[in-house]
């Protein structure tokens, strides 16, 4: 198997919002649960599922997004970095 690089920009293929606290091993951040968006992003060679750093009120299928990262708590304490996608052209990294 080979590793291949993927585009860092794509188009929202579908999305929704997680509006209630998921079960463990999902771990709430220090401030407690807040709703977050998730979606599928069409990068061209593949469509990936991901956290979305765009509020549900702004998300729409067909929207241009670009790769970013966010930190999520792990079940064993600490955090891990996961991909997220923000509106194309956003400068700042989303920290949610």
């Amino acid at each position: 198997m080979d590793d291949i690089g993927l585009p860092t920009t794509g188009v929202v293929w579908s999305w929704t919002v997680q509006t209630y606290e998921p079960r463990p091993p999902w771990t709430p951040p220090p401030g407690g649960f807040e709703p977050f968006a998730v979606g599928y992003v069409d990068l061209g060679p593949v469509i990936v599922e991901s956290r979305m750093g765009v509020p549900g009120s702004e998300l729409h299928i067909g929207m241009d997004v670009e790769l970013s990262t966010c930190e999520v708590p792990t079940a064993h304490g600490g955090t891990r970095t996961v991909p997220t996608f923000v509106a194309a052209g956003t400068e700042a990294e989303v920290r949610r």
Binding site: S14, W15, T16, Q18, T19, P22, V38, P45, V46, I47
Partner: protein, 382 residues
């Protein structure tokens, strides 16, 4: 190969029953009712199959009788009931059994389904990132379907409205209160585009049926229902399933398409022959997606048909006349059998106030489960 008939139907009410009623208790009640309906006793049973996510179906022998009967247990996500039926039908077809009992039951805890990432081949990252949630899949699949078909999301409340109206005339259903489309649309948006009344909830319930070779069935009952076909398929490459962390580009064809095609082909029946049906309505959008994926309805027609009431009890193709998963909740082991139970009642003419007119002769059921499998049945009346 021997033809299979359904000669007994039994069910325990769906809903929330409290701590004194276990999954096994409900399963035993359903089996006893199905046997009574068939005019048989547990001692007559020479093969049994049970399906449950939370429970151990073969433990039912402790409730029903230690006859030593072969009793297989099945776990296939929300498709469990359909696969249990398939397994029992195979035993009859192979000549291994003359009287087979199929039972499905579950008693889920409150709240969303508890799942394990590892059991789906996913790492902890998937759950920690907040992706391990079944409603997300159904919301996103519905969202994409509406977009691709150019369908206005305001059809979704109409699907739920039908479900709760049918639930109000189904004594065994959980949700008995009708709701208007406006109440459904204005409810809390649990997983956009779905509001809380557009998503089924885990619940409790049990269904059982008795199968026999078609020849024997005619001696035992005046109203045998023939199991004209039953099929099951798992996903192939290029399908969009629950907990899919990635998808290939291009057309995505799921196991519902393949399972439905297989059952129509096996039975020699066309989708246009179906008079009454059940399709998996995990959410309001899924009912529409599955009507299209099974080949029952063309994608270009579905929006107009929903608005015209074509899927109502008095419509051209009644769908989920007992309120489906939306009104009954989703006890995983039981739902696939609840679908067959309702369609069989319709074919017998025993559905009471829910009876569809014009003597239905061909019924169809479809169930879908994570991580991507589907089971379909075709039932016919002599």
């Amino acid at each position: 190969m021997t033809d299979v008939a359904i000669i007994g139907l039994g069910q325990h009410d769906f809903g929330r029953h409290g701590g004194d009623v276990s999954g096994l208790d409900m399963g035993a009640v359903a089996v006893r009712r199905a046997l009574a309906d068939a005019g048989l006793s547990w001692e007559d049973v020479d093969y049994a199959v049970g399906g449950s996510k939370e429970g151990k179906p073969d433990a039912l022998v402790g409730h029903l009788g230690l006859t030593g009967v072969p009793f297989a247990s099945v776990r296939n996500g929300c498709a469990t009931g359909g696969v249990a039926l398939l397994t029992a039908a195979h035993a009859i077809q192979a000549g291994e059994a003359d009287v087979a009992v199929v039972v499905g039951f579950d008693k889920h805890e409150r709240g969303a389904f508890r799942t394990s990432a590892a059991s789906y081949g996913l790492g902890d990252w998937y759950a920690e990132a907040g992706l391990l949630s079944t409603p997300q899949f159904f919301a996103m699949k519905t969202h994409r379907f509406l977009y691709e078909q150019g369908i206005d999301p305001d059809v979704l409340p109409l699907v739920s409205e039908k479900a709760y109206r049918q639930g109000s005339v189904t004594p065994s259903a959980w949700r008995r209160k009708p709701l208007t489309a406006a109440e459904i649309a204005d409810a809390f948006p649990t997983a956009p585009p779905l509001t809380q009344y557009m998503l089924c909830s885990p619940s409790e319930g049990a269904v059982a049926m008795v199968l026999a070779p078609a020849e024997k069935a005619r001696q035992l009952t005046a109203t045998p229902v023939t199991l004209a076909g039953v099929s099951m398929r798992t996903r192939q490459f290029g399908s969009f399933e629950v907990f899919a962390s990635w998808l290939p580009p291009g057309d995505l064809v799921g196991p519902t398409v393949q399972a439905a095609h297989a059952v129509f082909e096996r039975a020699g029946i066309a989708p246009t022959d179906v008079d009454v049906c059940q399709v998996q309505d995990t959410d309001a959008g899924s009912e529409l997606v599955h009507l299209v994926e099974t080949g029952l309805v063309a994608s270009e027609d579905i929006e107009d048909l929903v608005r015209a009431g074509a899927f109502h009890q008095d419509g051209h193709l009644p769908v989920n006349t007992d309120g489906g998963c939306l009104a009954n909740g989703e006890p995983i082991g039981a739902s696939g059998l609840r679908q067959v139970h309702e369609v069989a009642l319709q074919l017998r003419g025993d559905a009471g106030v829910r009876q569809v007119a014009a003597s239905p002769r061909v019924g169809f059921t479809h169930v879908y489960g994570a991580p991507g499998l589907s089971a379909c049945t075709l039932l016919t009346r002599d």
